[in-house]
Symmetry: C2
Subunit: 265 residues, 2 copies
């Protein structure tokens, strides 16, 4: 029986480092005077004036040297069904045909200045990835994404916790859309091998999904035309007996992401 | 200048009480022996054996007698832009043409036994509404929905906080889908005057939405055929200069919602 590794092994997905996805055009420069020093003593601008001291620049890849906590592994909030299915999917990675993708709370967890300079002064909480924004284990999205070696097929095992409720007892339609967007996005990312953004998402909700359900979102790349990646997705229970939702999506490759304007305080 | 009321006033939307939405077919019976007493000393079954002591039954409407906290009002996490737009939209309610809809952390906040009996034993956190599942003010969805007196037009003012991030600096596609689903759902609910569930959701993402943005999701009922309600939605900035997303949706009226099966622990 394959044991769940404490340190992810063999997770060399197309984007080796999550940070290369979230800061694809990063130019790292020294932190401004008065800013609180980051662990690495650096801060970042995107699309601004070229850094005056290029010797201080750090490539996005260098951020990989410090690994944030991988959350796509079992925790106390995972149900028996979730754990069993995770083990099943993990066994498929033994021969290299599938790979588990790590998942983090936020891409820039250890660089608070980066966040401050990119999205403006953070007076409240710093950024977190939408699906990893809850601290309580088992409350929200518990998930692990597996990617086929072809790079054209992704499966997301997901337990939808009680904090994702819409109609009483059932997952919110937006939570299901979020699961689908994340799964097709992972597949699109593997195809594009660069950053991608959702352009279209068409979802058919077929059966109400109870909170607490453990489901698999199964996404495939249908075709790839220039910067456009067309995908499909089916969300079903772990046995494949119940098809909860079907979807199609269009993702666009984005080579250079413009920085968002600073939000008005 | 209209002041923001501490206690919502004039919020008699079609569903007078949020609880009537989430437990439309509720039959309330005495709590089983050994169960922890709720504040009202009652528990609920849905679709089970008729209660043996009908004098203990409480109609869903009676739940309205205790009001949970309305969260669709300004808090410390709201930006200046959010507050200003909220005041603008609130002023329109003065003549009765628009109404602000209250919003709660969870529908059954004060009836833990109900949750336990409907969705099974809750070993982890109790349920929360997806858009209200964060405690930190300003971190997630900060929003207020306004409904036109025609019942066919809903507007959701929303500030998308830093915990809703997808691509770095931008709101997750699932978060935008959640905002849209919630807004068109509110409109569908006003049309149906009974519970509704999402059947189809088709979204075009036009412009990346920065985290921290204050936007308005504007939804209209397009047509109503039997139990089907067709709607549209446009998400734009508060000035209407930037159209972030467009969507169409189909909602289905559900008169009697079956309870979800208990999740496997």
């Amino acid at each position: 029986m394959i044991q769940i590794p404490n340190v992810p092994d063999g997770d060399n997905i197309p984007q080796l480092c999550h940070q290369t996805l979230v800061v694809p055009t990063a130019v790292l420069v020294p932190a401004p005077h008065g800013a609180t020093a980051a662990p690495h003593g650096i801060a970042m601008t995107i699309g601004g004036v070229p850094p005056p001291r290029p010797h201080c620049c750090v490539s996005p890849q260098a951020l990989c040297s410090v690994s944030p906590q991988d959350l796509a592994v079992p925790n106390a909030g995972w149900s028996v069904a979730m754990r069993e299915q995770f083990q099943h999917l993990l066994r498929r990675t033994a021969d290299g045909s599938w790979r588990r993708i790590p998942s983090y709370r936020r891409g820039l967890d250890y660089l608070p200045e980066v966040v401050q300079m990119v999205v403006g002064p953070v007076t409240g909480p710093g950024p977190r990835h939408f699906l990893r924004n809850l601290d309580a284990e088992g409350a929200g999205f518990e998930y692990a994404i597996f990617l086929h070696s072809s790079g054209h097929h992704a499966q997301c095992l997901c337990q939808l916790g009680p904090y994702l409720e819409g109609h009483h007892g059932f997952a919110h339609g937006g939570a299901i859309a979020t699961l689908i967007d994340t799964t097709v996005g992972a597949c699109a990312l593997a195809v594009a091998k660069t950053s991608v953004m959702t352009a279209k998402l068409n979802i058919s909700y077929l059966v109400p999904m109870p909170v607490g359900a453990v489901v698999v979102a199964d996404s495939r790349m249908e075709r790839h035309e220039g910067r456009k990646i067309f995908l499909s997705c089916r969300v079903h229970d772990t046995k494949g007996d119940t098809l909860y939702a079907e979807a199609t999506a269009l993702f666009i490759q984005v080579e250079n992401t413009k920085p968002p304007p600073a939000a008005r305080p």
